[in-house]
């Protein structure tokens, strides 16, 4: 028997969320949203329980989680870094900035550094196109970021 572990309070909360959507398989996306709001992310154990409660396969739940970029399977870092990939940011070098963050922190998009400090994600247009390319760290917004600024931004949060 494959075993997974989860705290009782979490299981109860998940069962309650599923119930609030009548345990309907067709409500999967809404259930996942609610679960992510509650726990911050959607680890494998959480997906297993949701699959069981909604009577759908775990593979299907995982398929949906990986299809939508707003679902995440890892907890966000203490300082979540987001790079805008809207058209304006993209053409002004957003992608190069993203590559530089990935290289310096040594993590791919959607994942968190081993020390739990930083996570990287991509954003759709944040509506600050005048400042393109835009990077946010937590609540703070950085504008006109160039590859050369990346090290400084990271340093600010490393102490």
């Amino acid at each position: 028997m494959a075993k997974i572990k989860l705290a009782k309070s979490k299981v109860d909360k998940l069962v309650e969320i599923c119930k609030s959507f009548d345990n309907e398989g067709s409500e999967l996306i809404n259930v996942l949203h609610k679960a992510q709001q509650t726990f911050g992310y959607l680890p494998a154990e959480v997906q297993e329980i949701i699959a069981r409660e909604l009577n759908v396969s775990v593979a299907h739940v995982y398929g949906v989680v990986t299809f939508y970029s707003f679902f995440s399977m890892v907890p966000k870092g203490e300082f979540p870094i987001s790079i805008c990939m809207g058209t304006a940011c993209y053409v002004r070098g957003g992608e190069k900035v993203l590559e530089e963050f990935k290289r310096q922190l040594n993590v791919p998009v959607g994942e968190t550094t081993d020390d739990g400090k930083f996570s990287i994600s991509c954003l759709r247009c944040v509506g600050a196109c005048g400042l393109a390319p835009v990077v946010t760290v937590g609540e703070r917004v950085y504008g006109r970021v160039s590859v050369g600024d990346v090290a400084d931004i990271i340093k600010e949060y490393q102490q």
Binding site: M1, A2, K3, I4, K5, L6, A7, K8, V11, A44, E45, Q47, E48, I49, R52, V56, S57, V58, A59, H60, V61, Y62, G63, T66, F67, S69
Partner: protein
């Protein structure tokens, strides 16, 4: 009355019922539009038309875009062109784009010659690739039965339909998006860790080499060449009804004799029949059925009915994963493959004067789940498996071709004894309804003490997914249920769980059609008339047998006298029965 619609396809007038797709309408006038993602499995009621690959596009006059013919409906007065320059160029472009992210492994790919992607590329005359793109690189996933090489996946998602909708296993799903998307088990774990049953139905429909069976032919060639090894082979009933197709013979041609010759020429020391073990299965399973039935009639509340057959290993995997709470309902009798193994290695080896370790037992199976089954720990003695490995019908055909044999010209040969003698009851194990008919023949005679007037229980035969019939045991009505395809099995199981089941015995086979439609058989490309012909062939072989009831097989009688004692004896239990495991994911609450 169905409303009829008139349209023009390639300048020909066609009349079709409303709702018909352009693809089907074209077929009606002999125009075969190439398809890739589309899948229609005849009267098994399996249809899959995601309209994703767009290889089947046609031009509809007055529409700006080309339309995928597999999921576009005909309309009154429509004018369709299936092969003008625009259409042909579009198809070629679609194919070139697909190939730009496909490894050029054709020369060494297991699917080569039988691959839809390859044959359509040939048909379209693709001679060069104008697109150079990034090629995906996935780790190849080796499970005991199936190999997943997702670099070759074209995202047609046929496998998903088989696994999720037909088998209701839910082991596979499309994951990720865009270039990264692929069909995979949950959390992209290896298939072996997922809820996969190894039924092989995904392999049977995959148009490319993305899903193939684990091939054991090289191991077999090595063992056959080793003079220290005695290599014996058993052949499952469904193989003889399909092997000929690989050599261009009509579906439903029985090639039992030629198959035996071929195996002998390949160098097996003895050529035996799994049908013999099927007769043995009936002795054990039938005895268990009668025992439970008698106790039930005496009012024993602990005894569980219905009894479920247990000869299909994918079905065993299914209930271990999905219905572990019901794991004490199936018969404990092992599958015929796994009854053959221990008898060969414990009884036959002694008769032949050889050690267990020097005997290699190989099975030829229509099945991919059997490859996993023979590796299960319960079926090993000190690490030595009762059945060393299992070869599919397709692999056997390849091996015969490698050995340069003229299969059609081979003489008809006979199985060796003692384990080659079988009855008609053993033969029909290969088709849906056959196991329970074989059991009914023996159980009736043992229970009533009378001889059956006719051994044909025609009510148990057929191709509907769920069937039921009542057999009269001399005044005692026995209700029998039959399901093939795991989705149908699920329905019967849910009824049992809800206390709604009226059956005494249920036969379950994982593959649609039973083993004749197994995941290791020659590809039937969705033509269920092929399955019906294979089934008819097995019933023909049954009819032609002098002995048609398992308990009358003289070598089975001898085996009990000399070795096992009686059915369900202590030794039988040790060698021929098994137990099941709870393989569901257990959520431990902290």
């Amino acid at each position: 009355m169905e409303k009829m619609i008139k349209l023009t396809i390639d300048n020909k007038l066609v009349e079709v019922p409303e709702g018909t797709t352009i693809l089907d309408a074209a077929k009606q006038i002999g125009v075969e539009i190439p398809t890739l993602c589309y899948m229609h499995l005849g009267d098994m009621g399996i249809e899959h038309k995601p309209g994703g690959c767009r290889i089947c596009v046609v031009e509809v006059e007055g529409r700006r875009n080309l339309a995928p013919s597999c999921n576009s409906k005909c309309a009154e007065g429509m004018v369709v062109n299936t092969h003008n320059m625009r259409v042909l160029n579009a198809r070629k472009t679609v194919m070139e784009l697909m190939l730009s992210d496909h490894p050029f492994d054709c020369l060494v790919c297991a699917k080569s010659g039988n691959c839809d992607l390859q044959s359509i590329a040939i048909k379209l005359g693709v001679r060069e690739l104008h697109y150079k793109g990034e090629q995906s690189t996935y780790k190849v996933d080796y499970s005991p039965s199936i190999i997943r090489d997702m670099d070759k996946c074209i995202m047609c998602r046929r496998c998903e339909t088989m696994c999720n909708d037909i088998q209701t296993v839910g082991a596979l799903s499309a994951v990720n998006r865009g270039f990264e998307s692929v069909v995979a088990p949950a959390f992209e774990m290896d298939l072996e860790k997922s809820t996969c049953t190894y039924c092989g139905q995904c392999v049977a429909v995959c148009p490319t080499g993305a899903l193939t069976e684990k091939d054991h032919t090289n191991q077999l060639i090595r063992d056959l060449a080793d003079p220290k090894k005695t290599v014996v082979v058993q052949t499952a009933p469904a193989v003889r009804a399909a092997l000929g197709e690989e050599f261009g013979m009509e579906p439903g041609t029985l090639v039992t004799g030629k198959m035996v010759s071929a195996l002998r020429q390949l160098g097996f020391n003895s050529v035996f029949d799994t049908d013999f073990a099927a007769d043995l299965t009936i002795m054990e399973e039938g005895t268990e059925l009668l025992d439970r039935l008698k106790k039930h009639l005496e009012g024993d509340k602990d005894v569980k009915l219905p009894i479920l057959t247990s000869c299909c290993p994918a079905w065993v995997n299914f209930f271990e994963h999905h219905f572990p709470d019901m794991k004490d309902i199936p018969s404990t009798a092992r599958s015929p493959q796994q009854m053959f193994g221990p008898i060969a290695k414990n009884y036959l080896a002694k008769q032949m004067g050889i050690n267990r370790e020097d005997m290699i037992v190989v099975s030829i199976m229509p099945c991919l789940a059997k490859k996993y089954e023979c590796q299960r720990d319960e079926f090993k003695v000190d690490g030595d498996p009762d059945v060393n490995y299992s070869i599919s019908t397709r692999e056997l055909a390849n091996l015969i071709k490698q050995a340069n044999m003229d299969f059609l010209g081979l003489p008809e040969d006979e199985f060796d004894n003692p384990m080659g003698e079988s009855t008609g009851a053993g033969v029909i194990f290969g088709t849906t309804g056959g196991v329970i008919e074989a059991a009914a023949r023996t159980a009736y005679e043992v229970y009533t003490g009378k001889t059956l007037k006719t051994v044909d229980f025609k009510a148990l035969r057929g191709m509907e997914g769920i069937r039921s019939a009542t057999v009269d045991f001399d005044g005692l009505p026995i209700n029998i249920g039959i399901a093939h395809g795991l989705g149908n099995a699920r329905k019967l199981l849910e009824d049992i769980r809800d206390g709604k089941s009226q059956y005494h015995a249920i036969e379950i086979m994982a593959c649609p059609g039973g083993c004749i439609g197994g995941g290791g058989q020659p590809l039937h490309h969705g033509d269920s008339s092929i399955l019906k012909k294979r089934a008819a062939a097995l019933y023909r072989e049954d009819e032609g047998k002098a002995i048609r009831k398992s308990h009358e097989n003289p070598y089975i009688i001898k085996l009990y006298e000399e070795f096992l004692g009686k059915p369900c004896s202590e030794l039988s239990h040790k060698l021929l029965h098994t137990h099941y495991f709870d393989k569901s994911t257990d959520i431990e609450i902290e």
